[in-house]
Amino acid sequence: MSNFSTIMARLLEAFRLNGQLFILTLVFALPLGLIIAFGSMSRWKPLSLLTRTVVWIIRGTPLMLQIIVIFFAPGLLGWGSPWGAGASGRFSAATVAFVINYACYFSEIYRGGIQGVPKGQTEAGQVLGMTKSQIFFKVTLLQVVKRILPAMSNEIITLVKDTSLARIISNKEIIMMAHEYTAKGLIWPLFFTGVFFLVFVGALTLLFNALEKKLDYFRC
């Protein structure tokens, strides 16, 4: 049964890559999404037009395609590949693709949430002499968070599973690993891969439910 524990260890090791990609993507895409959202909502037409076009392209093309493009394009276009030949370079390329992609999705959720707060809330803040940033942080923000929590939890759960797409540029993530074992005639690594994802997503679901409950003390 050392076979079992070795394989499990390798699966877990590979899952660590999924986990790292997940966390890094969130760390960068959550704030970047807000910047992109403000760009989309900007009153300066050139900026909002440019931002919305980029968001449209990124959301309109497959993440898998974007990962491939980001990894191969610089080299193929003659600019020299910034990624190098090693595993860390492949991981960085995947991370960059994920961050850009998810930031665009988040930006649309943020934008919907921000624009969904009734104008009267902002105006009430204004007539009470509050500054724009006071209105955003003290009035709008929590209302936006409450509104966007369901959509964000959906996106983040999707991200957990999307991390497997990194395999397309040979990042050794868990599904790739489990798939290799089927060639050796083993089916159970696939089953346990599913279990790992279930547990991860299950934990996130519990977390999001708790957050929604915490924000249930008011209605907006």
Binding site: P118, G120, Q121, E123, A124, G125, Q126, V127, L128, G129, M130, T131, Q134, K138, V139, L142, Q143, K146, Y217, F218, R219, C220
Partner: protein, 264 residues
């Protein structure tokens, strides 16, 4: 000197001319009622006073100081507008209380933020003392509104009439020179309008300077010191309520008032 002087306000939205030369003045301690059909420009006028809309032409003066002059861009700087807004208070038709804060916090929030700025360089103790004052004042205001037992409730737990009374307390907490009401009871069920009108009447008796846009004719007649009838962006007639309501001079005024008395 009048506390509020409005001179020749024009405002368009695109092609539509909403305000076509509005001028009036208001003395301190007086209540001004503005009546008129929907679309007459009453709400836009109120929003211009509170700097939520920018008039295309005209001047707004408070206590003789020019707060806004359409022809003078130096009166239109964003930073200054914020301070100028504090001359006025506005109670919205749809209350617009902040849903994530308790009733008490709704009333104290803006004062606390302002005080924090003003006391930036003083110690924590000074700030804490100031916050305590703000909270005491807020409790007094809410008590006057009859809502002391609701200080820890959230807006969604209150009736419309209660929410509007909190909104009035919230506006009063900043001690505005002129308190404006934009159809304060129009979004309320008939049973709930009474409690809000009672509060406004109380404020009028205390000589609060107010501008009230309303459809409640009987109330306007009772409480206002001066009434303006607006139609299609202009002031058609103005005067004391006893004169305007009983003996309107203009035909348009007569038509408007007859529509209201027949439907009442």
């Amino acid at each position: 000197m009048a506390i509020l002087e409005v001179e020749n306000i024009y405002k368009n939205f695109g092609e539509t001319q909403v305000l076509k030369g509005i001028s009036f003045s208001l003395e301190q301690g007086q209540a001004l009622a503005i009546i008129g059909a929907s679309g007459s420009g009453k709400t836009t006028l109120l929003r211009c006073l509170n700097f939520l809309e920018r008039p295309d032409r005209g001047i707004i003066r408070v206590n003789g100081d020019v707060l806004f002059d359409a022809q003078d861009p130096s009166t239109q700087l964003e930073k200054e507008i914020r301070k100028k807004r504090l001359n006025f208070g506005l109670v919205f038709q749809s209350f617009h209380l902040f849903p994530q804060y308790t009733v008490l916090k709704n009333v104290t929030l803006a004062s606390e933020l302002l005080t924090k700025e003003q006391l930036k360089h003083q110690g924590r103790a000074a700030l804490r003392a100031a916050y305590q004052d703000i909270e005491e004042q807020a409790r007094m205001l809410l008590d006057q509104m009859g809502l002391l037992d609701k200080v820890n409730a959230y807006p969604h737990q209150l009736s419309g009439g209660q929410q509007q009374r909190v909104a009035i307390a919230r506006a009063l907490a900043l001690h505005p020179k002129i308190l404006c009401f934009d159809e304060p009871t129009s979004a309320l069920d008939p049973e709930l309008t009474g409690e809000v009108l009672r509060v406004i009447r109380g404020l009028a008796e205390k000589k609060t300077t107010m501008v009230i846009v309303t459809h409640e004719m009987a109330f306007a007649r009772d409480v206002a010191d001066h009434v303006i009838f607006m139609d299609d962006g202009v002031i058609v007639e103005e005067g004391r309520p006893e004169d305007l309501f009983s003996n309107p001079k203009e035909e348009r005024t007569r038509q408007f008032l007859s529509r209201y008395s027949s439907s009442n």
